[in-house]
């Protein structure tokens, strides 16, 4: 038996540590730990609720915009604000392009190197790579000379400096890599192309949001970007034309590069449909309202729950059944650490009881992570692209059913293959393709609405704090790229009295709960093969399939109490 620790677990956002027990070449037990805590909810107390989104957005710069959206929705829910149609569409487009850009970056820059041996590309025949590229896609950058150029560049990198920079010390040559060198070269070329593509397409967020990361045009009640086709300083025809061009470019790259690569790489790793199943329960809050009412029935991504991998029924979601444990997390509850608390009544006191740094191993019998353990009806839930896809598939969502069936047919896999490491990778690709289409529809809706003469982007009826109730609370759900996100805000006497978030990676990366039930990462690792414990490539595959975001995952929910100090002047 070998106990290993992977820390830093790289190619993710933030600080994640995985400890695993390996016996006979297989993971038999695993522990997921986040090793960073900042305390956003404590910082949030006493702030102006209109400012909250600016703070909350900084929970994460990879999942930028998603916390801003959840936060502003929680304030709007608390204060009863309905945003105008233009604001609804702008927000949908900002969030939609976030999915598309973030998923492609995840595939090429955070996950691909688990499947692609960069040094294999050095051995490839560029002419054969060109033939493969032309056979799977009409993407024009597919000549022998193009791939030869990429290969030469890589070779120069390796030779002139005797190392590979970011690619140095990778697990190259590991027996679990099994792509032909020509496909390795194809993937490396697209890794580099995707670096440029991601930078360009995210300019949609700069057009609607001023900048990325951390867009700055949300407002309580709508958006700050004025809409006026006749003004140079507003969302006008020129900006909309540029937006359309970028959205079309996003779709073309997804259709012609990402999806063909995903299928080519996935086809070589079909055995990964047998590993990484996880907890088997899937949660999706749903999102992307089709009307300003925000009615959940109009969501483009449907809400629901799948339990026990049973795709024959979708259970209704009840926000009241969420509860968070701290039994194995570095926090304490006044009523004892065996209890769970709904985030609305969240109570947390951070108390680090882990080993004094520097340390070799965590004490996983006790508390071992800064991530809390959220549960729904007491059960661990996986959230994210796979959960969304399963809920939509089981709900009979026509676009999703058709996309899932055709993709699985292309790979020669049954629907049950989705419950796996490979399933998460495939699900992310499918929803990227669907979103790349959908965001163009929202663009058309926005243009049509402006053409009708509707220039409103902000509802100012609740801007003035004098219009607010003395005490109110709201919930802001959002489906971010990594899954179901919720912010809860309580407003008292014009200031934030309590603020809490339960974030996608909080669900997925959670440690054990009071009953000792492992979180989704921990459950997914059990049974994962490990050919060489000193080079645990296979563990990276399963963990990366979730797309971890640890800055998001760790938060502290402030203990409910009266606001004593209004935070305004500096420390």
């Amino acid at each position: 038996m070998t106990r290993i620790a992977i820390d830093p677990l790289t190619r993710i956002e933030g600080h994640l540590r995985i400890e695993a027990q390996v016996e006979g070449g297989t993971v038999t037990n695993a522990w997921s730990s986040s090793t960073m805590f900042r305390g956003m909810e404590l910082v949030m107390r006493g702030r102006d609720p209109r400012d909250a989104w600016l703070f909350a957005q900084r929970i994460c710069g990879v999942c930028t915009t998603v916390h801003a959206l959840a936060s502003i929705r929680s304030a709007e829910d608390a204060l009863g604000v309905q945003i105008p149609e233009n604001a609804r569409l702008m927000r949908n487009i900002i969030a939609g392009i976030q999915w598309v850009q973030d998923h492609v970056v995840h595939f090429y820059h955070l996950h691909a190197l688990d499947w692609v041996d960069v040094t294999g590309a050095l051995r490839a025949d560029p002419a054969a790579t060109a033939r493969i590229a032309a056979s799977i896609s009409p993407w024009p950058k597919s000549s022998r000379d193009y791939f030869k150029g990429v290969q030469d560049r890589l070779r120069k990198l390796a030779q002139s400096d005797a190392d590979l920079g970011l690619f140095k010390n990778g697990y190259w040559g590991h027996p679990a890599y099994r792509l032909p060198p020509e496909v390795d070269l194809l993937a490396v070329a697209h890794y580099l192309e995707a670096l440029e593509w991601q930078r360009d397409v995210i300019k949609v967020q700069a057009l609607l949001g001023a900048k990325n990361p951390h867009p700055q045009t949300y407002l309580l009640g709508g958006m700050s970007l004025p809409v006026d086709p006749t003004s140079q300083a507003a969302l006008n025809d020129a900006r909309l034309a540029e937006q359309l061009r970028l959205l079309q470019f996003a779709k073309t790259f997804v259709d012609q590069v990402y999806i063909p690569d995903l299928l080519a790489i996935g086809a070589a790793y079909k055995d990964w449909a047998h590993y990484g199943a996880g907890s088997g329960n899937y949660l999706c809050y749903g999102d992307f309202p089709s009307s300003v009412s925000g009615d959940t029935q109009t969501f483009w991504v449907p809400r629901g729950i799948i339990e026990g991998r049973d795709l024959t029924r979708v259970l209704p979601f009840d926000e009241g059944r969420i509860g968070e444990f701290v039994t194995h997390s570095w926090y304490t509850y006044e009523s004892g650490d065996a209890a769970h608390k709904h985030p609305r009544e969240g109570e947390t006191t951070p108390r680090y009881t882990g080993p004094k740094p520097p340390y070799a191993m965590l004490e996983t019998d006790g508390k071992y992570s800064w991530v809390k353990a959220p549960r729904y009806d007491g059960k661990p839930m996986e959230v994210g692209p796979l959960a969304r896809l399963l809920v939509a598939y089981a709900s009979g969502h026509a676009q999703v059913r058709s996309a899932v069936d055709s993709t699985l047919a292309a790979l020669g896999l049954p629907p049950s293959a989705l419950f796996s490491t490979l399933g998460r990778v495939v699900a992310r690709g499918i929803e990227t393709q669907l979103m790349a289409d959908q965001v163009l529809r929202w663009h058309d809706e926005l243009v049509a609405n402006i053409a009708r003469g509707d220039l409103r982007a902000h509802d100012g009826s609740r801007w003035d704090p004098a219009s607010w109730p003395a005490d109110c609370e709201g919930w802001g759900p959002h489906e971010g790229p990594r899954g179901s996100l919720g912010h809860w805000m309580r407003i008292k006497d014009g200031a934030v009295a309590n603020y809490q978030c339960v974030v996608p990676s909080t669900w997925n990366a959670s440690p054990r709960d009071a009953a000792g039930t492992p979180g989704p990462y921990e459950a997914a690792l059990i049974g994962t093969p490990v050919a060489d414990p000193a080079r645990p490539l296979e563990i990276l595959r399963t963990i990366h399939s979730f797309d971890p975001c640890m800055a998001c995952a760790v938060h502290v929910t402030g203990r409910e109490r009266e606001l004593v100090v209004r935070v305004e002047t500096a420390r």
């Binding site: 790289t10 956002e13 209109r50 994460c60 960069v118 920079g165 697990y171 300019k203 305004e568």
Partner: protein
């Protein structure tokens, strides 16, 4: 690039030569209590682009978000630079450094421990973003983890500060190119910020400045003045007290920037702006032409003393002093 650095065009060949040189300097990029937004912003750099930077300009040997190896193999990548290239590599730091125990560990080591070793042995250290420069939001009241900026956490190492939330990737690229071209870090102000990027108030190069001077202000979100692009001062813009090149360089390859998209500046390149500048939609007091301008004599300069001279030139010392210095007034006095 030469334009971003405000260099004469004659420097362009030197930059090109530096960019094309065969030996790429080692760079390690450390991430502590941050959000990876500054890394993302670096990925948005255009001139040069990120792929060019890591393929031609530098050898990025350690960057947890992007590097191939994990765990012990990743730690080996760091060790090879810190021990094998001692005194010859560049350290870039993203994220604040918490001083409380257990709040940020990597490979079982504390952020502070890692920063001391890695930055202490570097040829040059660049702090990127609000958190690494001055503590960022983790340090905002009530500062739950005892967060510090790098220069305070590891004194005496000499740090160039590139604040912003996030940092603008264009400014990181320009700083790297400057260092590689001239062999030294760019000239800075008293807060360690390069003058090429933080030498001018946003207010002084703002595209809406003419409306301010003409007294044309947006009064309500979405009104005609807002659609026409009038000044956002009355809706809380912090451009008059913020040193940053946003109006000139803008964001995402020059696509836009907050004021250009109808939202006020929040002043994210200034120390402790999360506390000093909020509530963000409240109007700044004491900007020339508005309110009373006698605060500088009334309040102690406190923490702002280092920047006092710079601000005084622009006549807004009072604004900053009262917000950064210890509390000396009732809140009411701060309201415009």
């Amino acid at each position: 690039m030469a334009a971003a650095l405000a260099l004469p065009a004659s420097h362009a060949p030197a930059i090109a030569a530096a960019l094309g040189s065969a030996k790429r300097p080692r760079v390690v990029w450390l991430e502590f209590s941050g959000c990876t937004g500054c890394t993302e912003s670096m990925l948005r750099s255009e001139n040069p682009g990120f792929a060019e930077i890591v393929l031609s300009l530098i050898s990025l040997d350690y960057h947890e978000t992007l590097m191939a190896p994990a765990g012990e193999a990743a730690e080996r990548s760091l060790r090879e630079v810190v021990e094998g290239e001692r005194g010859r590599y560049i350290a870039v730091v993203e994220g604040a450094i918490p001083t409380g125990e257990g709040y940020c560990t990597i490979g079982g080591r504390s952020a502070l421990d890692i920063a001391r070793e890695v930055c202490g042995n570097a040829a040059a250290t660049i702090a990127v973003g609000a958190c690494a420069t001055y503590g960022g939001w983790p340090r905002a009241h009530p500062d739950p983890t005892g967060a510090l900026g790098l220069a305070e956490a590891v004194p005496g190492i000499g740090v160039v500060n590139l604040p912003g939330c996030p940092v603008n990737g264009a400014n990181v690229a320009a700083t790297l190119v400057h260092y590689l071209t001239f062999g030294r870090l760019p000239a800075t102000d008293q807060l360690g910020r390069p003058l090429f990027a933080y030498g001018q108030l946003i207010h002084d190069s703002c595209e809406r400045r003419a409306h301010y001077d003409a007294g044309e202000f947006v009064e309500v979100w979405g009104d005609e003045a807002h659609r026409k692009g009038w000044c956002l001062y009355k809706l809380g813009c912090k451009g008059p007290t913020t040193f940053h090149n946003c109006p000139v360089v803008r964001w995402n390859g020059g696509t836009s920037w907050p004021v250009g998209a109808g939202h006020g500046c929040i002043g994210c390149s200034e120390p402790q702006f999360w506390d000093a500048n909020s509530p963000f939609y409240d109007r700044l007091p004491d900007v020339p032409g508005f309110g009373i301008q006698t605060r500088a004599e009334q309040v102690g300069l406190g923490l702002v003393i280092a920047t006092g001279a710079a601000f005084a030139v622009h006549g807004v010392a009072a604004t900053v002093a009262e917000r950064v210095a210890p509390i000396q007034h009732g809140d009411e006095e701060h309201k415009p």
